[in-house]
């Protein structure tokens, strides 16, 4: 039985009741170890993108494994709405176990403090201020998980360069320039370029993570550099898919120019699987795992099964495993894992840690 209550909270920013503070509510200790009064909550940006839809599927697998309901908060990229939704839930008085993808780094602190003040448990992903670590706030901020963009940018770059035989010109489509993942992925590309001296970066432009922009920027770059463009590196799949259509429109589709991206969106996986249009590789963080395992971690902390006070630095903030997806292994990443496949990661959410975030 799918037990997802989509909490369509109206944005009640205006009536959010001051800034938490330590008002009367239980601080720190959950009422019991049974887990009966622990509410599982997933807070994501939107239900309209496949990536977060997979988060929900992963979280549902976990919720079913412990036989509890799952509340999904979707904020449509609005930080105020995200915070007020979480506050309204906390106000209901239950202990929450929250798995959240904060919209921006600056939202993270407000969210973890609100949850901490109410005695809930939270695991954050992707965004947090560089100088703030979970131990700075307390045991209720169970852990922070991110993925090393440098590594993903590097992995797709080397896959691309190998396909090109180690020589030729490429163009790069960057994400929004002040985004941390955009900067990290581009740094990864540059690291790979140093190892392949015969690959020339002809041009790098931002395409704002956006498919339409990816199309028009690629179209312009193809005019500028013509036949010199032998490969396209994009910081995400959306831009890569736009670039792929621009190649088709320029009469250079059909696999002549290999393309790589990051994020493993379903269409990119389809392209990699078919292999017709030169879409070579992408990187996945495994959105199902991201929805399920961190929620399991927050829940284990909430019911006292996992003692945050004894945790190591790595357990409090770590990089998760990423997988390079190519035609060889694309099938494994195209559909949701079964409950049995995900279970070991739900039992031990740290299985995929590749190192601490410092």
């Amino acid at each position: 039985m799918s037990a997802v209550a989509v909490f369509a909270a109206l944005s009640l920013a205006a009536c959010s009741s001051g800034d938490g503070g330590s008002d009367g509510a239980a601080t720190g200790t959950p009422d019991g170890d049974s887990g009966d009064d622990v509410q599982l909550v997933l807070a994501i940006r939107s239900l309209s993108n496949p990536y977060h839809a997979n988060w929900v599927e992963g979280a549902e697998i976990f919720a079913e494994s412990v036989d509890k309901d799952l509340t999904v908060l979707s904020d449509d990229g609005d930080s105020q709405k995200q915070l007020s939704q979480i506050r309204s839930l906390i106000a209901s008085g239950q202990t929450i176990a929250l798995n959240v993808d904060p919209n921006t780094s600056s939202d993270t602190q407000a969210i973890v403090r609100a949850v901490t003040d109410a005695g809930g448990y939270v695991v954050t992903q992707w965004n947090k201020p560089d100088d703030l670590l979970p131990p700075d706030v307390g045991d209720n901020w169970v852990s922070h998980i991110s993925f090393d963009g440098d590594e993903s940018g590097y992995q797709i770059a080397t896959a691309l360069f190998e396909e090109m035989g180690g020589e030729g010109g490429i163009i790069a489509l960057q994400g929004i320039l002040d985004n941390v993942p955009a900067q990290q992925r581009f740094a990864g590309l540059q690291r790979a370029l140093e190892e392949y001296p015969d690959i020339e970066l002809l041009d790098d432009q931002t395409a704002q993570w956006d498919r339409n922009t990816g199309y028009s920027v690629t179209q312009t770059l193809l005019t500028k550099h013509g036949e010199d463009v032998q490969g396209i590196w994009a910081a995400n799949d959306n831009m890569a898919l736009g670039a792929l259509e621009a190649l088709k429109a320029a009469g250079r589709g059909g696999g002549e120019v290999p393309i790589v991206g990051v994020d493993a969106v379903p269409e990119a996986l389809d392209e990699i699987s078919s292999g017709e249009n030169g879409y070579l590789a992408t990187v996945t963080t495994d959105a199902w795992w991201q929805g399920g395992a961190p929620l399991a971690l927050a829940y284990q902390a909430a019911i006292g099964e996992y003692d945050v006070a004894d945790a190591s630095d790595e357990q409090r903030a770590f990089y998760g495993t990423q997988f390079l997806v190519t035609q060889d292994n694309v099938d494994e990443h195209m559909s949701a894992p079964t409950a049995e496949e995900l279970q070991p990661d739900l039992d031990d959410p740290f299985l995929r840690s590749v190192g601490p975030i410092e």
Partner: protein, 299 residues
């Protein structure tokens, strides 16, 4: 012109064709928006309309989600969806007397919501080769989308020049009180303008789907701002009453040329956005220069 001097790649047939292609969707949307702005209104629903239209078109044409196969009729349906959104905008604006920016913002959000429901977590792909060829195919070395855009410009110019709706738009936008005293049915023509704008946004969404081959909620991201900018840079006053479709053509070309030219010249991506903004401010100031002495209220 400046770009021609700075890059030998700029003034080539291939690049001019590229600019025309990059202008096409923006132009269609901006032509529709022109009528609303001429009347002194604004239409902020375009991104939501594009999202719904793009989903409707792809889900009605051959796709990888269901068994529909209505071919080009699906595109008409997309335009029709846009027209309905426009009608809702117009009726709410004129009957309930809600400011247009508020109504259209709300209706746009409804559009995003409907598109999200249709999206259901995964972008459906457009498999209809006939529809797809309009986005990828060429005539005389120019993308077919360019010809759609030119056709819409002709229709837009025709409406503006030769119909009562077009002529009254200037009267109403110039001074609504006088227009009302002259017995013009203002609600009727305002609603019509929103229907035109909505249909254009619907077609824009369909065109984006033809080009990219998917239905996507985010397909119109950033388009609303670009559309309004194109109309205003062209010289149509945000307060209404002045400007027109041909102005908008110039405005849309300026925006596409800027984005294209800055890349060709090799301007660092880190400063491109600021440079684009600066050039837009200068262009708007320059087009309005001859009007600045009159006692004019800037809203």
């Amino acid at each position: 012109m400046l770009f021609t001097l700075l890059s030998d790649r700029f003034f080539t047939a291939a690049n001019l064709g590229g600019i025309a292609d990059q202008t096409s969707i923006l132009l269609v949307m901006a032509v529709g928006m022109t009528f609303v702005i001429l009347l002194g209104g604004i239409d902020l629903s375009t991104e939501g309309v594009m999202a719904t239209s793009s989903m409707v078109v792809v889900l009605l044409a051959a796709n990888d989600r269901n068994d529909n196969d209505f071919g080009l009729l699906a595109v008409l349906a997309g335009v029709g969806v846009g027209a309905i959104f426009g009608l809702v905008n117009g009726v709410l604006h004129t009957r309930l007397k809600i400011p247009s920016f508020m109504v259209t913002l709300g209706v746009g959000a409804i559009g995003m919501g409907i598109a999200t429901v249709l999206f259901a977590g995964r972008a459906p792909r457009l498999l209809d080769e006939g529809v797809r060829s309009w986005g990828l195919g060429q005539w005389f070395g120019l993308s077919k989308l360019v010809f759609i855009a030119l056709f819409i410009v002709l229709i837009g110019y025709g409406i503006q020049r030769f119909t009562r709706a077009g002529r009254y738009a200037y009267v109403i936008g110039g001074d609504e009180a006088i227009a009302r005293l002259s017995g013009i049915s203002i609600p009727k023509y305002k609603t019509l303008a929103f229907v035109i704008s909505g249909s254009a946004a619907g077609l824009g969404g369909a065109m984006a789907s033809m080009r990219l081959g998917v239905g996507d909620v985010q397909i119109g991201a950033g388009q609303m701002f670009a559309t309004i900018t194109a109309v205003v840079i062209g010289g149509t006053l945000l307060a209404g009453g002045r400007g027109g479709v041909l102005h908008t053509v110039v405005g849309a070309l300026i925006i596409a040329t800027l984005a294209n030219g800055l890349i060709l010249v090799g301007v660092q991506p880190y400063i491109q956005v600021s440079l684009q903004g600066a050039i837009i401010v200068v262009a708007v100031a320059a087009t309005g220069w001859h009007l600045r002495n009159r006692t004019r209220v800037i809203k």
